[in-house]
């Protein structure tokens, strides 16, 4: 059936746990398999019961496609494949494949080790899940969580005018008008600078991927321009691994960055050095990037504990912190923290939250829709009441239908697929030689044989098809006898038939052959004398199987008789 059916299983009308089921061209595809960061129970996973009702997932689903490595798009993958049960292929790009397991493991550690969750996927499950992954190139998938303004190192999201039947886009931030990147950067630099100027230390806990590199580049530029001397450190470990991956995937980055790679590798900094834990006790100002990002363990937490008591210092949290982590607590304003061994840590250092979120805003979403030129648009990730205006905006500006289904609700889109068919030149020439060319108002019936080889379609003449199949052709010919009252000679009868048909059948090719017979296209009419009755002539009308329609028409026409000949 030429329909596309879309059912969000998560992220229908709420944020998080992105998971969309699409039935297209007879295949069932799951787009993303995310985790909802706000819940601790089953609500954090998409509702798979919608599909498990139909039987085994592996039988029902043809594949899973993961757009990118953010946890709200891939966080539920190991649960889905290993605990619910799916053995089919999982497609994602190479960088996503490399980075996904790192983030999944990181998250698993917090959930299980820090928060003591029981029913969570294991490290082994993550590994087993990743074994099912097939990495693909960018032209085969589109990046999720796009942003239309270029990140310093990643390229801006740009899409070809692919004119899809359906564009599915998030609308979470469609109601947002983001402030300029420069302002946010300025704010960040201002804070770092002020702290360093007064002799304080700045701790920036990072997730090790994405933002860390961008902030490094920003600080490096700033330090260079302003000739600052305070040291900047970048902790080793997970971050090194991430840098390693970034170097591998340099081809995925911004054009400008790529150009400079030869002269100077952007990820080897002049002012930024590797951190040694002993440096944390050094006097004087410094900036340290340390993992992990939510201050929940490891080096960043260690450094935090050392520096928290001094109000000259500052910690800048660059992203979302999960409940239960130290990061989350201090961002909620908590100033006294209970650490292990019932020790209380008093937080006097300044706490700042810098959001460099990667989502597109209203303008960006409209730009993307304008570039892709879809037939219809479907919104996910937003609340219905808050998407009404965007829906109207899209419908008006692009004159397309805009849908916003809730979780579990199916949207059906009729499509008119076009299948290109090649026609053999010989067949085409033969049909054209038959006579008058077909026009839009007078279509002609074309006989041929459709050959489907691999994924191409060819229309060839029946003879050619038979030849290819090695079969002999059999001709079917029908002959009909029409009796006419006419005492004249056969030749005259034939002539009368000819002039009659010529005047009536203006659209057809009517010919009078030298041997007296009349042809209408490929139909042959011969006049013969009746064996017994000289006053009756017999018209033999003969046609091939292909001309059945015309043949029957002629027969009934002739049966009506010929007009009186003028004497």
């Amino acid at each position: 059936m030429p329909e596309i059916r879309v059912t969000p299983l998560g992220a229908g009308q709420d944020v998080g746990r992105s998971c969309i089921l699409v039935s297209i061209g007879g295949k069932n595809v799951m787009l993303d398999c995310g985790m909802h960061m706000g819940f601790n129970d089953d609500r954090r996973f998409p509702d798979f019961s919608y599909i498990t009702r139909n039987g085994r997932l592996t039988d029902f689903l043809d594949c899973v496609i993961i757009s990118h490595f953010h946890l709200d798009h891939c966080g539920a993958l190991p649960y889905f494949s290993e605990m619910v049960g799916y053995d089919g292929p999982i497609y994602m790009t190479h960088p996503t494949q490399a980075i996904c397991p790192i983030l999944l493991e990181d998250y698993r550690k917090i959930a299980v080790d820090k928060k003591g969750e029981a029913n969570f996927f294991t490290s082994q499950m993550i590994k087993d899940c990743m074994k099912k992954v097939v990495a693909v190139h960018l032209h085969q998938t589109v990046q999720g969580d796009y942003n239309m303004t270029p990140d310093r190192h990643l390229g801006a999201a740009w899409i070809d005018k692919c004119r899809p039947n359906l564009l599915i886009t998030e609308s979470t931030y469609a109601t947002t008008i983001r402030d300029s990147k420069r302002c946010r950067e300025r704010d960040f630099l201002k804070k770092v600078h002020e702290t360093v100027e007064r002799g304080g230390k700045v701790l920036i806990p990072v997730f090790a991927l994405g933002r860390a590199q961008e902030l490094c580049i920003l600080l490096e530029t700033f330090w260079e321009r302003v000739n600052l001397k305070a040291p900047i450190y970048f902790s080793t470990g997970l971050t090194e691994k991430a840098n390693h991956y970034y170097k591998l995937f340099i081809t995925w980055t911004n054009q400008k960055i790529r150009k400079t790679f030869v002269q100077r590798n952007m990820f080897e900094f002049k002012h930024i050095k590797a951190f040694d834990r002993a440096f944390a006790d050094n006097p004087g100002p410094m900036v340290v990037f340390a993992t992990p990002g939510m201050l929940h363990a490891g080096q960043s937490l260690q450094i935090f504990r050392k520096w928290a008591g001094n109000e000259k210092n500052m910690v800048i949290m660059p992203g979302y912190c999960v409940q239960g982590t130290v990061g989350h607590k201090i961002l909620s304003g908590q100033r006294k923290l209970e650490m292990e061994g019932r020790q209380v840590l008093e937080v006097k250092m300044q706490v700042e939250y810098m959001s460099f979120s990667a989502h597109a805003d209203a303008k960006g979403i409209m730009q993307l829709v304008g570039q892709a030129e879809p037939e219809s648009v479907l919104l996910v990730h937003g609340e219905a009441k808050k998407m009404e205006f965007l829906k109207q905006k899209i419908e008006q500006e692009f004159r397309v239908n805009c849908y916003m289904p809730a979780n579990g609700e199916t949207v059906t889109l009729p499509t008119s697929p076009s299948i290109p068919v090649g026609i053999s030149l010989g067949l085409l020439k033969r049909e054209m030689a038959q006579g008058l060319l077909p026009s839009a108002k007078k279509p002609r019936l074309l006989h041929g044989t459709l050959i489907m080889k691999d994924s191409s379609f060819q229309l060839v003449s029946s003879e050619q098809a038979l030849k290819e199949l090695g079969l002999a052709e059999h001709q079917l010919r029908f002959t009909c006898r029409v009796h006419l009252h006419d005492s004249r000679k056969e030749q005259e009868t034939a002539a009368r038939v000819y002039s009659h048909l010529k005047s009536v059948l203006k659209d057809h090719c009517v010919q009078h052959l030298p041997d007296g017979s009349v042809t209408v296209e490929s139909i042959l009419i011969q006049a013969a004398a009746h064996s017994e009755d000289p006053g009756t002539k017999v018209l033999l009308v003969s046609w091939t199987y292909q001309d059945e329609e015309l043949g029957s028409y002629l027969t009934s026409l002739l049966k009506k008789g010929l007009p009186q000949a003028p004497s």
């Binding site: 008008i177 804070k191 000739n227 304003g333 303008k363």
Partner: protein, 431 residues
């Protein structure tokens, strides 16, 4: 000094977190880029040089795109890009503003935006990552919107534009995010290119004050559309601004500079000025009532398209108190966009815009006499510096407004669809 000087040797802190960074490439002649930040730490100023220093290699690949711009005296600065430029900035409470497009060839959007949350927070600002405007409601207008007023204590808006001489009334939905057109108010004067000015008499039964010329000035009851008051005169002076002062009084300003205060309890008998500001040669005028100036009562500030700014005491409009020539280089290229506003939270401060891509803040107490040059307390140049186009026509500030609560916070919008929220530091307030 010029942009290429470098004084990075100077140590010292910055009052109120002022940062001054320079793009030596982008500065035009005569633009001063140094911060004069006095402050608790006692240092006079701090500045850094740009690429002209020559120390160290320029970072390849980042080039001009990575410049840091001059921002003098800002406490806070947020820059946004709307999808279309706006000429209106109308507050709803102190957390939301309305903006609206003014393009003539397409549907325009009317948006209700809520301010970034962190701007409403007094303490612990650093903990709030929300720096973005949120579109809370949106609607579509077939015509460009030149003026928009919110009817206080209701969910209604009144807009004015062209073509067609009528006012459109809108309803901001409660249960969804849509702004819907609900009714129109006819304005019987058929004027091709003139659009009616609007002001709202806020009460249980709101009245809409509107008019194109003095002759067509009237107050209409919003619900019944009955006329409650008319000027009843035949003067054809074109109106440039209307302002409701209290339940019975309003002020008008004509493009000619004629000003008046009207009490609607009486038949038309406004107290008026005799003539436009002395020393000015005509041009187009707008005005706003507010502030306190020298005397205890309210004052009118009147701004002309040639840069003249005039101060009048409401009790005696016939004798202007003072006048100055503002620090603007050319007469306004778009006099209809001229705007002068009094700061609701500061004594004696006003802001002007409509001459170029800047907004200037003046202290009227520092003026003296008539006709002298005035220097602004502060000039917001963000729309010029952050202009992505560079060489093309510089953007023009279309409107600005003061934050109702935060004394030194302003919003400004420009013709390139930029929208800024900025909080300037009063550099004289050093200890």
């Amino acid at each position: 000094g010029t942009g290429s000087d470098s004084c990075h040797g100077a140590r010292g802190g910055l009052a109120g977190g002022v940062v001054a960074l320079v793009n030596s490439v982008g500065l035009g002649p005569g633009l001063r880029a140094w911060a004069g930040a006095g402050g608790a730490r006692g240092e006079s100023w701090r500045a850094w040089g740009g690429a002209g220093r020559g120390a160290g290699p320029r970072l390849p690949g980042l080039g001009h795109g990575a410049f840091l711009w001059a921002q003098v005296g800002y406490q806070d600065f947020h820059a946004f890009d709307l999808s279309e430029a706006t000429r209106v900035l109308e507050w709803i409470g102190d957390k939301g503003v309305f903006v609206a497009g003014y393009e003539s060839r397409k549907k325009n959007e009317i948006l209700h935006l809520t301010l970034p949350f962190r701007l409403s927070v007094k303490e612990n600002q650093g903990l709030f990552p929300e720096r973005d405007f949120k579109v809370r409601h949106g609607g579509f207008s077939d015509r460009p919107v030149f003026d928009l007023k919110h009817v206080p204590d209701t969910r209604l808006l009144v807009t004015s534009g062209l073509p067609g001489c009528y006012l459109q009334v809108w309803q901001v939905a409660e249960d969804s995010d849509v702004i819907q057109a609900v009714s129109t108010i006819a304005v019987h004067e058929k004027e091709g290119h003139l659009w009616p000015r609007v002001a709202i008499f806020s009460s249980v039964a709101p009245g809409i004050l509107h008019g194109v010329r003095l002759s067509s000035l009237k107050v209409v009851d919003l619900e019944s559309q009955k006329t409650m008051y008319t000027s009843g005169v035949s003067d054809s002076d074109e109106l440039s601004s209307l302002q409701v002062l209290d339940a019975h009084t309003f002020a008008f300003c004509c493009t000619s500079g004629r000003l008046g205060l009207v009490d609607t309890r009486q038949k038309w008998a406004p107290s008026e000025n005799l003539s436009p500001c002395p020393g000015s040669g005509g041009g187009r005028w707008c005005a706003e009532v507010g502030g306190r100036g020298r005397g205890p009562g309210p004052h009118i500030a009147s701004l002309g398209s040639d840069g003249h700014l005039c101060l009048l005491d409401c009790r005696d409009l016939s004798h202007p108190e003072s006048s100055v020539q503002c620090a603007v280089s050319t007469p306004s290229p778009a006099p209809e966009l001229l705007r002068v506003t009094w700061a609701p939270g500061l004594d004696n401060c006003l802001a002007i815009s409509g001459f170029d891509g800047t907004v200037q803040v003046y202290d009227v107490m520092s003026w003296d006499g008539m006709g002298g040059q005035a220097e602004p307390l502060f000039t917001h140049r963000g729309h010029v510096f952050l202009d992505g186009n560079g060489i093309d026509t510089a953007p023009l500030v279309t409107t600005h407004t003061w934050h109702p609560q935060k004394p030194r916070t302003l919003l400004s919008a420009a013709s390139d669809a930029s929208l800024h929220v900025w909080d300037w530091v009063d550099l004289r307030a050093s200890c």
